[in-house]
């Protein structure tokens, strides 16, 4: 029973990382998508280059890289940061991990958003224009919902991957579900904690799958 309680605690941290990543990565992803589609060549090249780097390297490496930024780039030891901010090392590590995660996921999301936005036919924009709508009105009243409908399947894929990717946070000893389970394996000399951890991920993803199914069904009232 103790094991389950510990795992539940780890799962709490997993959920926190999941939620922070999702909440931060969606707006940032939208911003990156708009930059990538920008008419200003410099901006779009920079933005696409950034996406290329982030998608082209392992998240694991990015987590480590982020944790090295303060000391290697700015010459501030990590210890100075967490002591200075009055937080613990593990909190600082969690922040590093969260930053790496939401940047990484924002880049993946941005490509999904870009694909979704670019898949809307030019005719929809033109219809809005000749009917006297502003660019803003066209995006929010005409295009957005169609984009949301189209990107739901790839987004749910990515979000389910995110749930499992949170286990990479163990790189910086963040006590999320997988980390706790692996520790418990050593302590209790049993493989059961890993089985339980697997079930946790499975159940949570099951819930998400149901949720995405509901959203897709809700959006099935129209076709585009």
């Amino acid at each position: 029973m103790n094991i389950l309680l510990e795992l539940l605690q780890g799962f709490g941290l997993t959920l926190l990382l999941f939620a922070i990543t999702l909440v931060m990565a969606i707006p940032l992803g939208l911003l990156i998508a708009f930059c990538s589609m920008s008419k200003f060549k410099v901006l779009s090249v920079l933005s696409r280059g950034f996406v290329w780097i982030i998608r082209g390297t392992p998240l694991l490496l990015q987590i480590l890289a982020i944790s090295f930024v303060p000391s290697f780039v700015f010459g501030i030891p990590n210890k100075a940061i967490y002591v200075g901010l009055g937080i613990t090392l593990s909190t600082l590590n969690f922040i590093f991990v969260a930053i790496a995660f939401f940047i990484n996921y924002a880049c993946y999301f941005s490509e999904i958003f870009r694909g979704g936005i670019e898949s809307i036919s030019k005719g929809q924009y033109e219809a809005g224009q000749v009917l006297g709508m502003t660019k803003r009105q066209i995006f929010f009243n005409i295009v957005l919902l169609q984009v949301v409908k189209r990107i739901m399947p790839p987004m749910s894929n990515e979000i389910i991957t995110l749930v499992k990717d949170t286990s990479l946070a163990r790189t910086l000893a963040v006590a999320e579900l997988y980390f706790v389970a692996a520790e418990a394996v050593n302590i209790h000399v049993s493989l059961m904690p890993l089985v339980y951890a697997g079930l946790f991920y499975l159940l949570f993803n099951g819930l998400l799958t149901i949720l995405f199914g509901k959203i897709e069904k809700k959006l099935s009232y129209f076709r585009s």
Binding site: S121, G123, Q124, E126, A127, Q129, V130, L131, G132, M133, T134, K135, Q137, N141, I142, L145, Q146, K149, Y221, F222, R223, S224
Partner: protein, 290 residues
Amino acid sequence: MPLLTVENITKRFDNLEVLKGIDFTLEKGEVLAIIGSSGSGKTTLLRCLNFLEKPDTGLIKVGDEVLFDAEDNTTFSDENIRLKRLHFGLVFQNFNLFPQHTALQNIEIPQRLLLDSEIKKLKQDHRQYRKSKKLPIRQYFDCLIEQKAQRSQYREDRLIDIKDKSLRLLDRVGLADRADYYPYQLSGGQQQRVAIARALALNPDVLCFDEPTSALDPELTGEVLKVIKGLKSKDSTMIVVTHEMKFAQEVADKVIFMADGVIEEIGTPDEVFNHPKSPKTQAFLANSLE
């Protein structure tokens, strides 16, 4: 004075000169049919009139208001163009209805969004008025609350008008019983009729049709052409780009035959269809009547 004046419109895409100087005028209540083979520049001309393309040179006037002048940069800022577009309506070849909105909502939404813009402007005016009055704080807030109530009353009244008007338009295109259908539940002909009602809802001075029946199955073109014919009145000015020669002949007051980016022939339907002067027109008509 003509309602629409178009002078020397040219348009080039990279190395391709699509329009090589188009001039014509249109009187109020006239129907102009533009015919010609694919690639002759008909659609580009229509898109220029609706500011979906920016002409390289030329002038577009409605009444005595200059909407576009290639020599005058101030005529093509985004906001200017948006408002000037409202002089024209455009019905697209492939309808371009908004799929997430019902037939009725498709007609309502442009009107609602214009109302939103109008109310936003009203709000600014109200604020300026309050500030200019230099009221004591208590009266300032009373005024604010009253203005707010005034605006929301106005909005509600207008929304009712918009709905009434949209339903009337649906009825006019014969789709009163399809108000709550989504576009995918309608046939192509019905969708195009909704698109016509949507364009009419903003009371454009000139309503343009870009090959309105080209994307339809042959058995559905009739209902759409009938609706367009029914719109003809002394107040409605229309430009129809079409491949339906019989329709053009019946409905148009004026016919333009375009070839290679110029107006090859212009005249009454009788002149253009029955006594074409240009060999190109003759060849085109011979081909399309086969």
